[in-house]
Symmetry: C2
Subunit: 261 residues, 2 copies
Amino acid sequence: MLRFHPLCSPLPPSMFFFRSNSYAKTLDFPSLSFYKTRFRSEMGAYSTISDSSKLLFRQLFEKESSTYTYLLADLGHPEKPAVGRLPCVKSIISKASTSKADLLVEAGDKIYFGNLFLEVRATPGHTLGCVSYVTGDGPDQPRPRMAFTGDALLIRGCGRTDFQGGSSHQLYKSVHSQIFTLPKDTLVYPAHDYKGFTVSTVGEEMLYNPRLTKDEETFKTIMENLNLPYPKMMDAAVPANMVCGLQDVAGKVKEPLSGSL
Amino acid sequence: MLRFHPLCSPLPPSMFFFRSNSYAKTLDFPSLSFYKTRFRSEMGAYSTISDSSKLLFRQLFEKESSTYTYLLADLGHPEKPAVGRLPCVKSIISKASTSKADLLVEAGDKIYFGNLFLEVRATPGHTLGCVSYVTGDGPDQPRPRMAFTGDALLIRGCGRTDFQGGSSHQLYKSVHSQIFTLPKDTLVYPAHDYKGFTVSTVGEEMLYNPRLTKDEETFKTIMENLNLPYPKMMDAAVPANMVCGLQDVAGKVKEPLSGSL
């Protein structure tokens, strides 16, 4: 389940980080304190062909759960707010997930950070509420586009569909209608990877994904026969995910921060 | 120890992959067979500001040894040779390492792949023979530049200096004279990471690297007091590294392929 945490300040936020699994927060994980500063324009970023788009992008990996977390910031934004105001981090999750968060989003919503934006696409199938976030299509937006596909599409794989309202039929339709319709050079960044990959593209997955390149019936058969074990962190992760990972020291679930973005 | 394996064909090679630790080959590691095709121009690549440079770049991660492997290809090269000719992969390593490889390189050498090139910079200190590879400086080369720093500079760290002819003094000088003199937006890609980072920049390391931002005496004191355990794969990795990882099925070391690039 992919959730967004826009990092806010008194000024409009120009930075986001998001991760798939709230449980990953409690593990030994790179601290965002490394980014507690104003990002200066000389900080390297994955460049974009559009000279007017200056995206700072970082991909972080948590080994125990094989989870990726992503940090995005608009370096072109004149205010370049600091990352250090973590207490006012807001959480975002899809309305369809029936989880709690500060903001609930639906397909078609645009999430702005600075002058850049992410478009919300509904990609249920791993769970009922899964969404993918895709960078905007426009002259000032990053090129090539980037699709954060959560647990829907993984590199040369996909999320399992036997839990939490999962459906192979839905997942197949989601990927084919929402991800595989993007330009082939769109970068694919998943929530997890177990094989050592960090990124793929729509074009590569349309050619080489061993599951989603099959017809739907064959795909369903594959998914029914995965015989995967019960996920090891399931009993901690799902309750945490449902409230965007907010827990007190004793492990009791807290309510998320409320307030507008 | 960073080594190069240009993937060749009857035509000049336009693709490289390189990894730090030959031992990583024997573990469950993403197979390059996924790339057994002609790369088509619609494959996504990290774009560059220079429209005439089209670098395909992939970063792969091996969890057990926390090792990164990198794949680079020049998609702009008219021939776009296939990756499937692994039997004629050649190996490259620094002459100063006294290891065996098909090609031995020295500081200042340029390694071309297609129309793109990597510049060899001597960065001893973790071992006597360490080098870093930096993408070329030129209008048709990738921007921002990318520095593959091996075990010299890690993200918010550096390689240990207590083995294999290591020297804290040398490492300090190497990083400061060869890496920290690059443009601040140069992307830093290390051989290993144990904290979940995938990339950094010269500017970030010059500000936040907890070791290399100190003066040399303080740095040496830090390095003398790391109290690190004996590396778990040392006894397998070092002999393999010295012959670029070529071993037969029974584990006996083979001689590397000879021949020109």
